[in-house]
Structure formats: structure tokens, C-alpha cells
Amino acid sequence: MELTEIFQKVELFNGLSISELNLVASICQERHLQRGELITSQGEPGDDLFIVTQGFIEIILEESQKEPRKVVVNLGEGQIVGEMSLVDQGPRSATARAAIDPTTVKVIRRADFESLCEQNGHIGYIVMRNIASDLSFKLRHRNLSERSR
């Protein structure tokens, strides 16, 4: 399947034209992960955004004074990981690792993404709007999960 076909099913790129999807595809790299392999570590700096195209990524909050280490959600096909660091440039808010074999992600480096957005403001607007929507969706999921406990 063409990368643009895959990206048409990723909310992050909802609203981009085929030519814009091709531009995004040109700055993506693919990573195949083994179960347990880390892609982010909580508290560490990070420059990459990950798009899950196969398998699941576990999002883990590390042990704190109040709570033990725990998995808070599994992100599957079409979901993004690492978007907070892309937006605020802060340290990773959680640890993320491959939950099953096989798990595959597309990787976008922040510098490449920012360069692309400087060349094409429409891509920047659409992707940032969709990141906001994704964060909202994840917050709603978290709220519903907490209520079910």
C-alpha cells in the first residue's frame, strides 16, 4: 500500500491534499519494533513524532511517589505518539514501547516537520489542528477510563 493511502487513514493528516501527503511522506522514516522496544522514555528529551501503522504502542507512566508504574493506554493503527514534545518541546511525558510483535511506526523528526511547515503553512495549520483534536480525544478516553475504575 502506498504511504499516501496509509496517511489518508491517519487523523493527523485529515484535510491534506494528495500532493501535501506526498510532501509529508518524503520526511518520514519507517521503524520496525520488537516487543518491549522503547521509542520514548519519560522525562527524556525527544524530537520525534511516531505514527503507528501496525501493532500497538503501550503508553506507560513511570513510578511516582503516589503511584506505581502503570500502562495507561495502548495506541494502535493510525494513532500518534510523541505529539506533545512536537508542540511544546518539553521532555517526554510518558514512556512508550512496542506492546506486540510486529509493531511498525513511521517517524517524523521535529526539525524536518518544522522546515516543511515553514515551506507550506497549510500543512502546519492542518497538522497542528489535528494534533489538538487528537489530544482532546485522548483526554476524553482518559476521563472515560478513570470513570470506569
Binding site: Q8, K9, V10, E11, N14, G15, F56, E58, K70, V71, V72, V73, N74, L75, G76, E77, G78, Q79, A99, I100, S133, S136, F137, K138, R140, H141, L144, S145, S148
Partner: protein
């Protein structure tokens, strides 16, 4: 081409739930595999209005089968 972004919340289990895209909306009674475990959908609701081809769904599920067990 509709894409259904689904928030799966698990009840009665320590499983943390999942978010993933599907090519169809979940329906009550459907069985779904999340990672290594199988779950049954017991409730479905729209979480946000659709935008373009994307639909935003919440599904409550319960564990049916753990890996390696019938």
C-alpha cells in the same frame, strides 16, 4: 472512505484500554482483539461529531478471553 477512531475502555479488568482506527463502527456484541486479549463490546456511543471522513467513537468492552485460554 470512512475511518472510525475508537476509544476502547475496558471494564472488569486491569487492561488499560486502547485507541485505534477501524474500518467500521463497533457494534454491541462484537468481539475485538486488543493486543493479545479478546473483548466483547457492550456499549457504543459517539464521542465527538464526525469531521470529514473521520468518526469518533467510544466503546466499552469487557474481557472475554485471555491469551492462551478458552
Amino acid at each position: 472512505m470512512n475511518v472510525y477512531k475508537v476509544s476502547y475502555v475496558v471494564i472488569g479488568s486491569e487492561h488499560p484500554g486502547a485507541i485505534m482506527n477501524r474500518d467500521h463502527a463497533p457494534v454491541v456484541g462484537e468481539r475485538i482483539t486488543l493486543g493479545e486479549h479478546e473483548f466483547e463490546v457492550i456499549e457504543v456511543l459517539n464521542l465527538m461529531p464526525p469531521r470529514g471522513d473521520f468518526h469518533y467513537i467510544h466503546a466499552t468492552v469487557q474481557l472475554v478471553k485471555k491469551k492462551g485460554k478458552n
